[in-house]
């Protein structure tokens, strides 16, 4: 044994007691939401609560046709029935109640649909990134095909073919948006596939499923989560635009999109009937985007702030 290595060893022994290896970087700060982000969280929370309790807190049943007249202004009182805080719609129904009931439809359905879209899109997308070859080729082509057609067209085709029941609506939205999720998931998947730990797992002889769900997916969660928010917004708007073709959620069930749609005439003589549901949609979608904005592009923003003009 030479002195050098000898020395190194002894010193190192002693060194370990005095000088531990230092952590590489100062502890990373968990991201803290800005005030806009907090507003977002609050609003989303509110609507989620409404999804659950909406029908019970609503003054009327969504389908009650009880008001004295259509397009009544906010605060009108129908004798023996009650106050219409946000007025009434074209069919003499209470708007506030319909919005509260509608949360269930709009928020609930969009949420489930988006979840489904992710289940499908992510699995297929990452699988494509992992398996490559023909599997990838075929999936990608089908995917392109779906992407290349206007969403509302596909919506029309599917809904008309199978009727616009709620399950069908969910399925439709899910399929359509799964394709865009597929694209993203595949991209992230390919990024992660080049990581050594994935190769290590392959070298170990792990199954494709282990690689997809244990090695790749967990590392794609964060970026996908932010995209989830945006996707959810698109689904909300997609379903309301379906209602434009009369294919959305069907009456008497209230959903915000069709509420806007059916009361549009109201606008023509200054009724707020269509404005309220529009606000509901906006409040929900904006809220989600506020959160997403806050989560994503934060660090980038920090560095950008250090720029001096």
């Amino acid at each position: 044994m030479t002195d050098a290595t000898q020395g190194a060893e002894t010193e190192a022994e002693e060194g370990k007691t005095i000088y531990d290896e230092l952590p590489d970087a100062p502890p990373k700060k968990k991201l803290k939401l800005s005030w806009t982000g907090k507003i977002g969280v609050a609003l989303v929370a509110f609507w989620i609560i409404m999804v659950i309790v909406g029908p019970w807190v609503a003054p009327f049943h969504e389908a009650d046709i009880i008001a004295d007249d259509s397009y009544l202004g906010p605060g009108y009182v129908t004798e023996g029935e009650g106050t219409h805080w946000l007025g009434t719609d074209y069919l003499e129904r209470d708007i506030l109640s319909r919005i509260l009931w509608g949360a269930r439809m709009t928020v609930g359905i969009s949420f489930i649909a988006t979840l489904l879209a992710y289940a499908m899109g992510v699995t297929a997308g990452i699988a494509a990134a992992v398996k490559r070859g023909w599997y990838d080729m075929i999936l990608s082509r089908i995917n392109d095909a779906i992407l290349s057609l206007p969403t509302i067209m596909l919506g029309l085709l599917i809904v008309v073919a199978f009727g616009s029941s709620i399950p069908i609506l969910i399925g439709t939205a899910a399929v359509i948006y799964a394709s865009s999720v597929f694209r993203i998931a595949r991209a992230f998947g390919q990024e992660i596939m080049v990581m050594d730990y994935v190769e290590a797992a392959q070298a170990r002889g792990e199954t494709i499923w282990w690689i997809i769900f244990r090695e790749v997916l967990p590392n794609a969660v964060m970026p996908l989560a932010t995209d989830f928010g945006l996707r959810l917004v698109f689904v909300v708007l997609f379903i309301s635009s379906l209602s434009f073709l009369g294919l959305g959620i069907q009456p008497p069930a209230a959903d915000w999109g069709s509420m806007v749609r059916q009361n549009l005439e109201g606008l023509q003589y200054g009724s707020l009937a269509p404005v309220w549901p529009a606000l509901a949609i906006a409040s929900f979608t904006i809220a989600i985007n506020l959160i997403v904005d806050d989560v994503s592009a934060k660090s980038g923003g920090d560095l950008a702030k250090k720029m001096i003009s």
């Binding site: 050098a4 010193e11 190192a12 060194g15 590489d24 050594d196 730990y197 170990r204 001096i308």
Partner: protein
Amino acid sequence: MSELFEIDNLQIQARKEDGTPIPIVKGVSFKVKAGQVVALIGESGSGKSTISLATMAYCRPGLEFPGGEVRLHGKDVLSMEPQDQRNLRGNNVAYLAQSAAATFNPAITIGEQVTEAAVLHGVLTQDEADKRAVALYHALELPEPARLGRRYPHQVSGGQLQRLMAAMALVSGPDLLVLDEPTTALDVTTQIEVLKAFKKVIREEGSAAIYVTHDLAVVAQVADHIVVLYSGEIQEQGPVDLIINNPTHPYTKRLMAAVKPTPKAGMGEDLDQQHSRVVPNIEVKNMTAGYGGIVNGKPAITVLRDINVKIKNSHVVGVIGESGCGKSTLARVIAGLLPAAKGEIFLDGKQLQADLKNRMSEELQKVQFVYQMADTALNPRQLIGEILGRPIEFYRGIKGAARREEVAALLRLVELPVEFESRYPSELSGGQKQRVNLARALAANPEVVLCDEVTSALDSIVSSNIIILLKKLRDKTGVSFVFISHDLSTVGSFADEIVVLYAGRVVEQGPVDEVLAPPYHPYTRLLISSVPELRVGWLEDTMQKREMAVGIARGVEITDSGCPFFNRCPIAIDGTCDVDTAPIREPSPEHYIACHRTIEEIAEIEAAPQQVLHGFEVAAPEGDKAAKPH
């Protein structure tokens, strides 16, 4: 000398969730005189990079300056107006980052990036700047200086980029140069090249510099003054020769100890003959491998040619060579990650399938691969317990409590606390991650562990600790190691046998003591003399050596015919070496050298070192050296 630059009780801190400060730099003070090179040394996490950035009144997002002053020409830069701070950056103070590859903007030409600062700060007009840049390219001995400016970063080599960084920093003739680990990521040969260039231009430009590194040997070559840092505090500082020749502080001693010794015979250990067998663990027979489609046993891009390697069990075979010589490829081929185009691989005498997809589980289990970068090798979303537990369960079917026990045992084996099983990789330091990385390979109860550059990315101290660990592991477990590295001294101190790869061919192989003792293959020679010594003036001395003259100036060229080292070999025979494949000479049993020169010739040339039989005089950079700062 006047105080050019002064750091006075500098403090830098981060903040926790709840806003309570975490000090990163705890009241550091030192001075830099004009023309002086001050080295900040310490292992990663010592805050040396953070301090170096503070010289430009800059700190990374999440950090802040609670107190202290950073004075340039007596003026505090931290309290300056943002405008003035900006005018300072890239003008009075210039920065060279660790990884040039990352810090060059891929979308902008080199020329523009190099001259940008000078032009923006109005120091020079674009033409002047361009001229000056070309001059600096000359000074830094970069190829084709005239055309270099029009190229894009991805079109030049890592070593060249690193030097271009220097050009970028120097173009506006800064008073102070800040170099952050500028050579750490480089091959020994490249490192010398870059060091030499840096030292030269710093001298010529006469600007002061702060040189941040963890490698004392490097410091000894460039610095006048040394500041030793540990966890944000100065441990010791003083003139270079003082610190180098008699360090007083224990931490400095420890740094010294971690410096790689010059590779020489006998630096390794005699291996105990326990659990040795007749059949080698792994035997690679005239294997050829590479990338791209394979046409009759020849891949589109051939990386390895006719490789023959034996790995006796419980032996350590060191594979050495410059980056791109194919040493990692060799490991990947053995692991089956890259199917060989030609040749066989035997495990315990049984032939292995080329592609790991066709290998049986137990074969996979016996051969384990350890990646260079623990960061990418450990799944950041899995707990250490999971990372180590999975192979245990997968290969050995051990589950539940038994599995946890095994994991604990492994952690103890690699000298990590057992609690780590419930942590994520990101919560560990580089060294600790590398230990986990090793532990995962061992978790499979392998016979052979292939270590790909496992110490290259680590600080000297940390890596020396890893080596110590590896030695213990080999003795405890009787596992054979293939230890791949570009660092000859590390290999020398650990391996039983050495394989020297050059441009995808074995140029020399044999028992460590044989290889590290004359007669050397010229390339081995070059590698040995490239390992920096902890001695002031070593750089100058070694640059006088013959092998450096041609060896350093040129890059690797993959050739189909002849000896690939031809163009960098000081003793090559024109018309032979560049045409015929070199014959294999066997100076002693199991020691092979591939060279056209006979052992005798080599020996006698070694005896008379100075004459250059082939190639060039010590390459003197052409063009005007008169690029003076304004």
